[in-house]
Symmetry: C2
Subunit: 304 residues, 2 copies
């Protein structure tokens, strides 16, 4: 019964983290966000309505003859021009206070591109990306070690001062990939800053795939996210240290305790997904023992 | 240029293996296949038309007031009744010779269920599942070993006598999960039969997730498949032996050679996906070095 309860809680978590794909989401109402002929997001109707005021930056077509979409004005030809023009509009939106997610304004730019591999078309303030359903990328580190033949995972508890998910469980280190930074570069930087892991040690981390999901936030944004996942086997004696104050404490937990936490509200949801992916990839969760095994794996990797 | 060529070939492979989700597929034309109120597949229009002849088994509603779907007659209340009634119709369809995939009739039953975890609603001849878009499950074994500090993978070349994909590269062992068999049970059985791996050795294989994909076959069937993936680290001196004649030869290849083969037509497509998943999970393919990394991971895990 305990196992069935866990299974139901975790499949429910994955459904919430993929709510944009589910029944009753605003997916069907959203307008494609086009830049230079390529789709880079999904714009909420309320946002599209607001953007009509700025035709020099955003062209909102309503579907009379042309396909309904929000398109960045083609006159903005360079990445710099687009970045500056969009930022100008976003700062006015922020001042209006009609869009709650802009209260978390970071002064941090994220690249906007149709696929991760592409040259960025422009950059957008991190807190504004949910208004446009622009896909965001991050890196997460699973730190683990062996003690007496048993595998343990390092987890972090987020500081109470964090803007998002204060006080919840997190992976050993994690962070969004800002414009202009590489995947491993971000991993090394965050691991150093948050957990004082020296770059020479993080260099040993193994890339192990991604998790992908898209959810609608409680306040209406579209969170389309992809996290690059790394595993780092730490020396038995290594203990992470609180670095820049984003973490209040680190725990070294046996996998059974990590697994239990994944099904609880104590874990930041996307970090719980990263830990779940780890437990599956390392064979701690087995198909014959887990009734929703297939749904768990598929729910960790939903494409938009 | 070689890397870009590989990347393009492999993303094209993943698109083909997910063709049912792509533009121009028959997805929008298919009718939901309902059993006891639950959807278990997608029926091609040509198949639905044929099934109208058998109202005691299949009720085909055309959407006049009720939702268009193919429903197993509710009078067939038990799993055995459904299995027998469907098999009777399938044997008549096979005799008609209008449905090419039934030429591969196996006398092997697969479980039909809305999710893998559920109690099967009934069982269906393996070769008929693409006509109904019924999801099929299998197990694949990645056999690997270390020599001189370098990782090598064991691959098999399929016998020329195989009904499907004769002569192509395959994983070390693999096989569909027949009705009534467990995941690990199937893995142990296939590893013993195909590669003479003793059960005591296969018991050490680590579950490592799944790959999921849905494609339309050249002759019109819908192949909705999920493969349970296992990794087995083999002793340096272990050499697999040809067992039941499904394999003609085994190769021990360095990962670079495996990677190259994944982008070539020499590899059975779903087995190439399993090997690709292995290379990603083990960090042999890295996000900073592979422009389509995100697409590769997402393409290995498409949900229906």
């Amino acid at each position: 019964m305990a196992a069935a309860g866990w299974s139901a809680r975790v499949t429910a978590l994955l459904r919430r983290m993929n709510s944009f794909h589910g029944a009753g989401s605003s997916k069907a109402l959203c307008l494609p966000f086009m830049v230079a002929g390529q789709q880079v997001g999904h714009v909420l109707p309320s946002v599209a309505k607001y953007l009509c005021q700025y035709p020099a930056v955003f062209l909102v077509s309503r579907g009379d003859g042309v396909p309904a979409c929000v398109e960045l004005n083609k006159k903005l030809a360079s990445s710099e021009q687009r970045t500056d023009a969009v930022e100008g509009v976003l700062r006015e939106m922020r001042a209006q206070q009609d869009f709650p997610c802009l209260k978390e304004w970071r002064e941090e730019l994220y690249s906007v591109m149709p696929y991760f591999c592409d040259t960025p078309l422009f950059s957008m303030e991190r807190s504004a990306t949910p208004l446009f359903g622009v896909k965001r990328y991050g890196t997460h580190l699973n730190g683990y070690t062996w003690r007496n033949g048993q595998m343990f995972m390092w987890l972090a508890r987020r500081a109470l001062s964090k803007l998002t998910y204060p006080g919840l469980l997190d992976n050993m280190a994690a962070g969004g990939i800002a414009s202009g930074l590489g995947v491993r570069e971000t991993l090394v930087k965050e691991s150093q800053e948050e957990a004082c892991i020296p770059a020479s040690l993080t260099a040993l981390a193994k890339a192990a795939g991604t998790i992908s999901y898209t959810y609608e936030g409680a306040q209406g944004g579209i969170y389309a996210e992809c996290q690059f996942v790394f595993d780092l086997k730490l020396p038995e004696g290594f203990v992470p240290q609180v670095g820049d104050g984003e973490v209040q404490q680190f725990y070294l937990w046996p996998l059974e305790k990590v697994k239990e936490a994944i099904g609880s509200p104590d874990f930041k949801p996307n970090c719980a997904m990263v830990a779940l992916d780890f437990l599956i990839r390392h064979g701690y969760i087995q198909p014959d023992g887990e009734p929703h095994y297939v749904e768990l794996v598929e729910g960790l990797h939903r494409t938009l």
